[in-house]
Structures are given as C-alpha cells and as structure tokens.
C-alpha cells in the first residue's frame, strides 16, 4: 500500500505532468490549408472578363478595379461569403481559395459562361441604341452610326430594314450595356453559367 502511494506521488509529482495539468490547451488553433478562405490573387493577369462578378451570389462582394496597369478583382470582406464561385468562374485562374483550383484541375471541371440575346419584337422600335452602345460592336465597326446600321458582318447585331438582327451571339460578353441603353426594355441578356466536366481518364476510379 505504501509502495503504491509512493508510485502515485512519483507519477504525479513530475514537473511535466503538473505543467500539463495546469496549462493544458487543445491543439493550436491554426486554419488548415484546405480551408476555403477569402479568395487571394495567384499573380496571373486579369483580362477583365468580369465572370467573377457575374458568378458571385453575394451583393457587393467582388469588384474588378484598376490596379496599376491592369485590372484586379477586389474582395470586400463583410460581403464575401467564401463560396469560391469567383475562383471557379475565372477563365484565367486569377484567384485562388483553399484547394478549389487543385480540385478543378484534378477532376477536369470548369464553369463556363455563355450569353443569349433575347429581343422582344413587340417592344423593339428598331432605334439602334443597343447596337451603338455595345462595346463589342464598337470594336468591330467603329464607323457604326446612330441608327445602328452597319455593313460589317463582324458585329453582334445591327439594324436591317428597321429591325434588329443578331448575327454573332457568341461574341457577346454579357456586359448588359445594351439593356441599360434600351428605352423600352426590349432587349434582354441571359447570362448562362454551366458546369462542365471532361471525361475521366482511363485508369481512374
């Protein structure tokens, strides 16, 4: 009985044990590397496609702003919900967050934007405001006049015989400048976000 008492005292009187007993803490509170935090820049060049802003579900969370010579997305903390959709939607990989990019590369997934132009012929007056406002049209045909007439076949849309004709829907960048410039609300741009996955390589799974 005495020996067990001595054993007890020896066991528990060690400095290490006493230290542990008095100052015990749970594991250090570090954020794991896979945690999907606020998106951070990877250092790649932003091409101002604005897909991050289009994909973002939280109001006012991301903005693409001037940074030096080019553009850079800016995350507003307090608005950002850390969903990571901007990271996935970016065509150039400007942002990173957790292991989203690694997962996308491994599984061959991507989020792709496409745009559809819908014109309500009942409301459209054929004024051509949308054609002249469109920044892609401006690049394709700098000579386009106020009526939206153009002899250039590279434009997205032009006015032909008093009606809007959409020629190159695939060139639309989804900026919705035409929607804003339309006096009747006749033109609508649908931003379609689709998830794609490449077929899994052989030998996987």
């Amino acid at each position: 009985m005495v020996s067990s008492l001595v054993w007890y005292i020896r066991e528990f009187a060690r400095a290490e044990w006493i230290k542990k007993f008095l100052f015990a803490k749970t594991a250090p509170l570090v954020t794991p590397s896979h945690f999907r935090g606020f998106p951070e820049p990877t250092g790649k060049t932003c091409t101002h496609a604005l897909f991050c802003m289009m994909a973002c579900p939280a109001p006012g969370a991301i903005e693409v702003v001037h940074a030096g010579d080019g553009w850079m997305p800016k995350i507003h903390k307090g608005h950002c919900i850390r969903c990571g959709l901007c990271v996935e939607a970016c065509p150039n990989g400007v942002l990173k967050s957790g292991r989203i990019r690694e997962t996308m590369e491994r599984e061959g997934t991507s989020l792709l934007f496409s745009f559809r132009i819908a014109i309500d012929t009942e409301l459209c007056t054929g004024c051509g405001n949308c054609c002249t406002a469109c920044p892609v049209n401006k690049q394709a045909d700098a000579q386009m006049g106020a009526g939206g007439h153009s002899s250039n076949d590279d434009v997205i849309m032009r006015v032909q015989e008093g009606d809007i004709v959409v020629i190159h829907e695939d060139k639309c960048t989804g900026c919705k400048t035409c929607e804003v410039s339309c006096p009747n609300g006749a033109i609508r741009i649908a931003r379609i976000l689709e998830g794609y996955q490449q077929p899994v390589q052989e030998g996987w799974q």
Binding site: L29, T31, P57, A58, P59, H79, I81
Partner: protein, 150 residues
C-alpha cells in the same frame, strides 16, 4: 501602473464573460458560436465564459442583420452591460446585411449604426477560431488598464 491595476488586468484577462444576441440571422453564425463552446475549440480554456445574461457580461456578441423587431431592444441589452464592455459582431450580416440586404427587405444593417462596435468578424459564417481571436483581441485592447484610462 499600480499593483491593484496589475491584479485587475491579470484577473480580467482570464475571466471574460460573454452574452450573445441574435438580431435576425440565418442561424449559421449561432452554430459557429456554439462550436466555440464545444471541446474542439473549447472557449473556456482561454477564460471566456458564456452566461447569456447582459448584466454579468463583459462582451456582447451580436449576430444577424438587425431586423425591425430589435430597434430599441438591442440598445437596451447593450445598456444593461456594466462597464468595461465591448460588442463584437459575428459574420457578414451585422456588417453589410449579406444576402438579406436586398431590395424590399426590412433589415437595417450595419449594426454599427445602433450600438458601438469594438470588432467585426467577417465571414458567412466565420470560423470559430476567428471568433475566438476577435474576443481575445478585444480582451487585450478594451479591458486592460481600463481604470487608468477612464
């Protein structure tokens, strides 16, 4: 700094009492606050105790986008806390209203307009560690040397 103040600092740094109030959130941040109490994060090892009674609290955690029902009531809760005191907002909602601050909604963020806020923790929801860090930073900046400064 006199000895009494030093003792007070020492004691206060190990005894922060917290009350939390949800002024209209989705409950996501409430769950994260609850996770702070659980063994994985174990908020009490830092000497932070949750009572949920403003009269014995030092720190008020405000969660949510401030719905109209909380007008006057939140200020009442804040006034009941004895000084020294600090309020911390948890999550995006008290900062910006997050997803609730849309056209036609009745929320009235930021909470900063209604009561003085010492720290804000962004995130939807924030990690428990971020909440813990905010409470501990407030503990050092607000409660240390309080008598000397007031």
């Amino acid at each position: 700094m006199n000895i009494l103040q030093r003792i007070k600092n020492k004691v206060r740094s190990r005894s922060i009492h917290v009350a939390y109030v949800d002024v209209g959130s989705c409950n996501g941040c409430d769950i994260e606050v609850l996770a702070c109490l659980a063994p994985r994060y174990d908020i009490e090892q830092y000497g932070i105790f949750v009572h949920n009674n403003p009269r014995e609290a030092d720190v008020l955690l405000v969660i949510g986008a401030y719905t109209p029902g909380w007008e006057e009531k939140l200020a009442m809760v804040w006034e009941k806390i004895p000084a020294p005191k600090a309020a911390i907002t948890i999550g995006n909602c008290p900062i910006s209203g997050c997803l609730f601050d849309r056209k036609g909604s009745f929320v009235d963020p930021p909470v900063k307009k209604h009561i003085p806020i010492a720290a804000e923790v962004p995130g939807c929801p924030p990690r428990p560690t971020e909440i813990l860090q905010a409470i501990m930073s407030v503990r050092d900046s607000v409660f240390a040397n309080w008598e000397e400064e007031h």
